[in-house]
Amino acid sequence: MRFRISDFGFRIWLPAMMLFVFVVLGWKDSKSEIRNPKSEIGSVFAAANDELAAGRHDGAIAGYEALLVLGMESPNLLYNAAVAYRRAGMLGRAILALERLLVLDPRDAEARRFLDDVRAQVGRSRPRGAGTGGLFPRRGLLHAASGRLREAEVAAAAVVLSFLTFGLLFARRFARREALRLGLAIAAPVSAVLLAVACVLLWSKAALEADAAEAVIIAPVAAAAREGPSTESPESFRPAEGDIVRVVGRAGGWSAVLDESGRRGWVAPGDVGEIFGPLVIPSGQMYGAPP
């Protein structure tokens, strides 16, 4: 006679367990509805979308930035913020929002096209001879290889391959059949190579992207890069809105940046937005904030 799981009353205790979980979760949800402002955050997002659809870009930007300051950051929020920034003529901020979106979701083709479109618009708006090289980040081969992958995907692949590689070696230790031992001896190195590739890609995502410290010039009028972190320091050059720079130092809210031609200077807080790492919107730089 075959063993049947239902013989042990599975059909009785499973629904009972599900009911218990539902009751517990439902109770927790009902409590969080009262204390958690999630629904209010959703309504802010919806209201900002309505503002954007009605052509009131300022209201939309204020709504989106309020959410970003709260730490909310999602592909749709960043995309809509980019649309609002673009319509308001704040193309540097639109580029920053889209670059951050692509960090969250590197395979968002629509956002990638949108970013190209905005960059093209910035490039067209520049005077002749101003150059557009700074608009496009110069990233290495490894960065490009891992550019379309999410960090979580690479990390999950590394964990799976680690289990597979060492699991095969473990199995080989106890395998007695010669054919099986041979198969395991071939599979384990292949898996180990894949594990090494995954680890390199993960290192690229975790270390290279952070070390690159890429940032976007978001000041609507060309920001002044100075020789020191204060407004009294002499101006060294003027990076243009939308240019990609590298942040190589920080002091009192000022950022030391390197542009694509190797020029170095300090830019004021709020003139530059970093692509990787936490998003910082200085309160004085928020849209509609009092000067």
């Binding site: 929020l77 308001a88 289990f163 473990f170 007695r176």
Partner: protein
Amino acid sequence: MLVAAVVLGAATAALAQEPVSVTIRASAGSVAVGEMLRVDVTIASSLGDPEHVGGLPVQGFSVVGSVQSQSMEFSFGMGRSVHRVRVVTTYTLRADSPGVGTIGPAMAVVGGERYSSGVVQVQIRLPHQPPAGGFPMTVPGPAPAPAPAPAPACRRPDGGLMPASGSDGPVTCREPQPSLFLEASVSDTRVYLGEPLRFHLRVHVERDLVGFSAGGIFSQVIQREPVLEGFLRVNLEPARIDTGLDLVGGRRYLHAVVRDKILYPTRAGRLEIGPAIGSLTLRRVFDVEEVRRESAAIAVEVLSLPEEGRPPGFSPNNVARDLRVDARFAADAAVAGQPIEMEVILSGEGNLAAFRVDPPRFAGATAVKSGDSVVEPTAGSMTSRRTIRFAVTPTAEGRLGLPAFETPYFDYGAAGYRIARSGRLDIAVAPGAAPRSVEADEPSPERAAGTVSIRPWNDLGTVGRPWHATPAFWIALLAPAAALGLLYAGAGAARIVRGRRGVVRPRDLFRRGDATLRRIAKGKADGDPAAQFAAVEAALMDYLEARLAAPLRGYTSHDMHRRLVDAGLDASIIDRLAVLIEGCEFGRFAPSENQGRAAGDSARSAIELLRALDAARIEPSGRGS
């Protein structure tokens, strides 16, 4: 039964298709001299790839270019599969001389046989001559692929049937099915080029399948978006999904609009709104089922803008309804040589973002575009609004004016060309600095083209820590390596401890013996052949003694045989063992020329025997029968 009959019928129909067909299809029945015409030559073959595809003979036209694409279809039915190849060559022709142009026949060779299409005749008229109404395309021979009749699921919104061809007006396509079905609808199936039409995709899900998160289900049900090739689109999806309940065929369905778009056709002819695919995963207690449904494709006939009344230099982008133009200067007075901003506001239905609006022509001033922004239509209002700014620089003092700012457009509501006019523009110009040259006036960047639509779906959340920054990830990554290392380290330590205590396990001897035998078999062992024979014998005897927990060496062959039989060892293995040990002893004491090779052979046999011994059941001495 009915389903089986339908499936059988479909399979029969598929198998009853012509094995090879060559068809020609032109995008229009009438063109003007100099106009382009698109012609598709389709070769459909179930006999394999065409070996040769001939060129397209044309009279009255010249071939500007061609593109070829190939696709394959597989169908199964009546106990066999059908593999069908479809090669489509798209030609772009230019009409050269007035009269009746002839296109075809197209020719292809498949399986050594020659197949050809019919001939298509197209009227070529003089420029500015209106097209003759309904000039028929004469197609002798095999007819070109006819436009597919509307799907039976498509009906008028009031439930009335669609005509077989030439349909106009709104249409709704739905085919109710259990669990899930999709409903596609458009506001019009015959429109002018550039005329907007509204497309809705509605999802119906059986009420009983929807739990507590109806919004989540409806926002994720579409797996493949409808193909909207040939259309520009504006997305109007609502910020929130509103559901309704209706009764279809005795079942209760929750329904919601998941796609809401305004579509602007970009080319004349027959366009198709492709099917969307939706899927729903039904999770039951012990199984999971995925339901996939497809919406109907909807054909839209796009009419070219009429030639009659077309203003010279008219842009086909300027298609709207009830267009209003308002123009004004941003200031009350201007200074010669100093730019002043002029604002032009267009409002009305249509794709105003694509409108071509030329700068105003002032006598005594230059004007360049300095800004442009569009307010797209919303779900509640189809009216768009576009604001264009011009920098106008007067060159001399006096008065600067224009009777009206004019924009020609095609009014699809009235099916005729119109001109939208603003009120009079007039401003006083004070004397100022020397006028700047026109070349110095760089146009400002076009800000906020604003043709990208927003994403209404709420996916808000905080960005969590990356995986590599969490201890759990590193524990999971390194745990297998650590576990394997511990296993080896533990085994090594245990061996050392056993060695110090003088305990020898059969498994240790098996490994040691196996390694020794492998070295000998590969010819890598040290020592002369006699020593290798001794090592082979020792490997087997050490292991057997460990398994028996009793010495075997020193016994006669007969006694050893008896002890092994007592231990329960199989007779065939005992015989193989006796032969091998005898061979080893013979090899040790009877030198020969190929002794080295013989030792290797013995080692290989010993490896097999060692494995057989390892797999055999042996009772330790004193416990056997």
